[in-house]
């Protein structure tokens, strides 16, 4: 008897509201007429036909137009209401905006940092085809990797390229310090040596000169922009000559080009480039054909069709070229340039950033986001209860669910959008601070991806909170809402409270982390190094022929001033890793022992304790055979009486005499254990036993003067030393460093991370605290009347404070209980990378938990105190 339901529904769906009544009425009327005239079947068919005919652009278009008009005006009203409610509840608006924008700013900065690190080396067009060759020594019995490094032998690249069809080009990359004269004034610089193919393999932009021929002449040199300006100012550097002193050779080189080293996004830094041939001035001629020494990084350019796995030749080559113990297998492998910057397992001279750093940054950013997000959610959902009356009135006046939902969505969007904008602006202004803390230069160019990321982030927060808020409210009946039944459904309260617990857990973990990182850093700096690093100065001698006599003359002159206590000289300095010698053994296991060549006054100047035996005698009768070893070496070989022993090694032809054992001192970073060490006056005593080495300085000689300064002002002493240096060696610049400062720098990286975690945890706890404040205030407000009644019935103020804070107390305690074990595990893992580390102290954990508890309780109490001490007459009137 009726028209088909579905067609009515269909019509109702697409037809604009204001047309619906008239159209449906007409259709119904016609249906009734038709039913009598044509029968039900046909009438229904006609009805449907008419409905389908009405599905017409002019109706739909009206629909669309109307929809737009209606939505726009509603949106305007929503926005007005949102702004009014924000103004009315300034406290929540500020907490929400502040928390969210801080975290947006931090996340954005973290994103820029990570993107910057990942952009290293990506500008080379052949980045995927260029690989660095590394070597790896594997013990065939235990299958363990004995040693791996990206510093490889000089002939490796050349030989590989000859034998492997898959390799198109190769280049070596080596460096050495040098002195360059400008207007007869010496400057200490770092020279890099490469093959001509370097220029065609890598895409460093050429500013002047010809890429094809620039490195073809042995006496040519390429400069970075910066250096071209330093040495030639505004003049055209092309064709100009430079005087370069490399070791003891003076070279006259001609500038053949200027290029841009892209120093903020290239792992291969350089200021000066010279052809690799000139490296022969630095290292012995034979090392150009020998596989025994690692001096350079070898880069190869693979053919398009070659995959790195196919390069079997790499492995075969290795076994043929080096005589080595039976049970050691040498393998070569490739690392793609595109991943080099974040590779920290096999490292060479190229700059790298540990990927761990990126993960930590990401993790902290996520933590901050979670804490701020939770704030926003808990605050918004509980705050919404304050607006129940509004919702009730709206409902009674006929607001539909969708409308209410849209209202709360609009509010969420408004807040997140504002904080997104504020956060981005904050990020812009905080960038220099952030760069300073992380120590990485970052460009503020968000790019499309960055903007898309931030937009989708804010949008998802807005949608999530808007949805949560509206589901809480819309479900309420109008009656309850109007009565102001400010009670959240039980499930919601659980939800909010577990979020608060999570928030506290995360913040406490961050604080514990920050405190422990700080403690570990302090421990490393305060730990006794085994020598006295204060007022100890290292003066680089530079390469020259008779360093011994220079050292003698300097010492004699310097010691005339009684403020200068002692002078010695050393091969290795405090900045670079020390020389490591390899002694082949009869049984096949090579022994790796650190080495330093010194002058007889070394122990005295460094203030290193001699445990047994005697120091080098100054008369130096036994200079060529006497050696000193450290405790670690004696322990390593398990000697009972070291003075009877010889350093074991199959190649030793001459004997040496251990004359003393020194107390262990830290010559490497605190990350490492103290390893076996030999000190000698010259290399003769043990030279014959050496079968390999890795070192920053070679050949063995003393390269640094070490001066112990007495108490008093530093500057006059430095002036005095500079005067002496000018007398002894007018050719070389006076380049010095204080050992304690170098050590400081060495832990700068860790300290920077300490600082980053400090700030991040401060930020997180601040945001969490804001959230707690907000929650507390809301829950207290809800109980205003109850407090009034309790007071009238004689409750005391402290009792009321206890009553109001109890619930929050529990949340924080639970947060602590979860945080402690998690933080314990995480910190334990981190500390494992240090050989010398603090013990984790459970009391510290508890203390931190207590501090958080006390701070939160204090701020909660202040809030509840206000209410508890107020006049019950007022609170009872509160609506």
């Amino acid at each position: 008897m009726t028209p088909p339901k579905w067609s009515i529904r269909f019509l109702e769906w697409f037809c604009p509201e204001d047309l619906r009544e008239g159209i449906l009425g007409d259709l119904q009327e016609q249906f009734e007429d038709n039913r009598h005239r044509l029968g039900l079947q046909k009438a229904r068919l006609l009805f449907t036909w008419n409905v389908l005919r009405l599905f017409h652009p002019s109706i739909l278009f009206r629909n669309h137009l109307n929809f737009n008009v209606m939505n726009w005006s509603m949106l305007k009203s929503h926005l007005t209401v949102a702004v009014r409610s924000m103004i009315k509840h300034k406290f929540y608006a500020v907490i929400n905006l502040l928390g969210l924008s801080l975290s947006v700013a931090f996340i954005f900065l973290a994103y820029l940092f990570i993107r910057n690190e990942l952009s290293y080396d990506q500008f080379h067009s052949k980045k995927d085809a260029i690989c660095r060759v590394y070597s790896r020594q594997i013990n065939t019995e235990t299958q363990q990797i004995e040693r791996q490094s990206a510093i490889t032998a000089i002939p490796l690249g050349r030989d590989l390229a000859e034998e492997t069809p898959g390799i198109e080009q190769f280049t070596r990359y080596a460096s050495n310090s040098c002195i360059i004269l400008k207007d007869n004034k010496p400057y200490r610089e770092v020279m890099h040596f490469v093959d001509p193919a370097f220029l065609s393999m890598f895409d460093f932009p050429f500013l002047k000169g010809d890429r094809q021929t620039a490195l073809n002449q042995p006496n040519s040199v390429l400069l970075s922009q910066e250096m071209a300006e330093k040495y030639f100012g505004k003049n055209d550097p092309l064709g100009q000559s430079l005087k370069v002193t490399l070791n003891d050779s003076n070279l006259l080189v001609v500038v053949s080009g200027v290029l841009d080293p892209q120093s903020n996004r290239s792992s291969l830094p350089f200021d000066f480039l010279m052809p690799l041939e000139q490296f022969k001035v630095v290292v012995s001629e034979e090392s150009f054909d020998s596989y025994y020494y690692g001096f350079v990084e070898n880069y190869v350019l693979l053919n398009k069709n070659t995959s790195p796995d196919e390069l079997q030749a790499l492995k075969i080559k290795a076994d043929e070229t080096v005589s080595k113990p039976e049970n050691i297998k040498i393998e070569y492998g490739l690392q793609a340039l595109s991943g080099l910057h974040t590779e920290d397992e096999i490292i060479g001279n190229a700059l790298y950033t540990s990927p761990q750093k990126l993960y930590i940054m990401l993790a902290i950013a996520l933590l901050v986001l979670i804490v701020a997000g939770i704030n926003f959610i808990t605050l918004s959902t509980s705050h919404v209860l304050n607006r129940m009356k509004e919702v009730g009135v709206r409902k009674t006046l006929g607001a539909r669910k969708g409308q209410l939902k849209r209202q709360f969505m609009t509010e969420s969007f408004l807040v997140t959008l504002c904080s997104g904008l504020v956060g981005m602006t904050m990020a812009r202004f905080l960038l220099p601070v952030f760069e300073d803390i992380t120590g990485a230069p970052i460009s503020f160019q968000p790019g499309w991806e960055g903007i898309a990321l931030m937009v989708s982030l804010t949008l998802s927060i807005a949608i999530l909170t808007g949805w949560l808020k509206s589901t809480v409210l819309v479900r309420l009946s109008a009656m309850d809402a109007l009565k102001g039944n400010m009670i959240l459904p039980r499930r919601n309260r659980w939800f909010n409270e577990s979020l608060v617990v999570l928030q506290f857990t995360l913040s406490i973990i961050l604080i514990i982390g920050a405190v422990n990182i700080r403690a570990q850093m302090k421990y490393l700096q305060k730990k006794d190094l085994g020598y006295d690093e204060e007022r100890l100065l290292e003066l680089s001698i530079g390469e020259m022929e008779d360093t011994r006599s220079v050292v003698e003359r300097f010492r004699n002159l310097a010691l005339q001033d009684n403020r200068i206590l002692s002078v010695t000289a050393s091969m290795n300095n405090s900045r670079e890793p020390w020389t490591e010698l390899i002694f082949a053994q009869d049984d096949g296991n090579p022994e790796k022992i650190f080495y330093n060549q010194v002058t007889p006054e070394y122990l005295e100047t460094m203030d290193i304790e001699l445990l047994e035996g005697e120091d080098f005698r100054k008369e130096a009768q036994n200079a060529s055979t006497a050696i000193l070893v450290n405790e670690a070496l004696v322990q390593h070989f398990g000697w009972e009486n070291p003075f009877d022993q010889q350093i074991p090694g199959s190649n030793f032809s001459e004997g040496h005499q251990i004359i003393g054992v020194v107390k262990n001192f830290h010559f490497s970073t605190m990350h490492d254990q103290i390893r076996p060490l030999i000190l000698t006056l010259d290399l003769e005593s043990i030279g014959s036993g050496i079968t390999g080495l890795s070192t920053y300085v070679w050949p063995a000689n003393v390269y640094n003067l070490v001066v112990r300064l007495g108490p008093g002002e530093l500057q006059p002493m430095l002036d005095q030393l500079e005067g002496v240096w000018k007398q002894v060696n007018p050719e070389q610049p006076f380049v010095f460093q204080f050992v304690d400062e170098v050590l400081e720098e060495r832990y700068a990286e860790e300290r920077r991370w300490g600082k980053t975690t400090d700030w991040a945890s401060f930020l997180a706890i601040f945001i969490a605290w804001l959230g707690l404040m907000g929650m507390m205030r809301l829950s207290i407000q809800k109980r205003t009347k109850e407090v009034g009644i309790r007071k009238v019935l004689g409750a005391s103020t402290p009792g009321l404070i206890g009553l109001l804070s109890r619930r929050f107390l529990w949340l924080i305690v639970i947060g602590n209980l979860i945080a402690w074990p998690v933080a314990w595990l995480l910190m334990g893992k981190w500390l494992e990378s240090f050989s010398y580390r603090i013990e984790l102290n459970p009391l510290l954990f508890i203390l931190i938990g207590l501090v958080v508890l006390v701070i939160s309780l204090a701020s909660i109490s202040v809030q509840s105190l206000r209410l508890a001490s107020s006049n019950p007459v007022k609170t009872l009137k509160f609506e």
Binding site: L19, E21, G22, G25, D26, Q28, Q30, D33, N50
Partner: protein, 110 residues
């Protein structure tokens, strides 16, 4: 002012609205077209045209007169506006003008 042009069906519906006066609503228009011109038209087509005319400002509408037969729904009554009337008059005049020209043309072609 730019003159809007009317299609044949639009003109028909507009005229009917004018003829029916106070009684012009969807079904009435369909019925009277059927009665006067013996032409079967579709209700939905009439509705669509009516709204188009309303958009053009040639008719205006109001809701009144619910009946049980319509499920208690009111009717949307249309009424011709002054613009609508003048447009109809214009059309009429144009026709007249053309009609006057017609015989000459006929001769020329014959």
């Amino acid at each position: 002012m730019k003159k809007s042009y009317l299609g044949e069906f639009e003109e028909l519906v507009l005229t009917m609205v004018a003829i029916l006066g106070e009684e012009a609503y969807g079904n009435a228009i369909v019925e009277s077209i059927k009665k006067e011109l013996e032409r079967k038209v579709n209700l939905s087509a009439v509705h669509i045209t009516l709204y188009r005319l309303e958009d053009k400002g040639l008719v205006k509408s109001e809701m009144r007169g619910a009946t049980a037969k319509r499920g208690g729904r009111r009717k949307r009554y249309f009424q011709i506006t002054n613009t609508g009337k003048s447009q109809l008059l214009d059309l009429q005049e144009q026709r007249q003008k053309l009609w006057k020209m017609l015989p000459k043309l006929q001769f020329r072609y014959l």
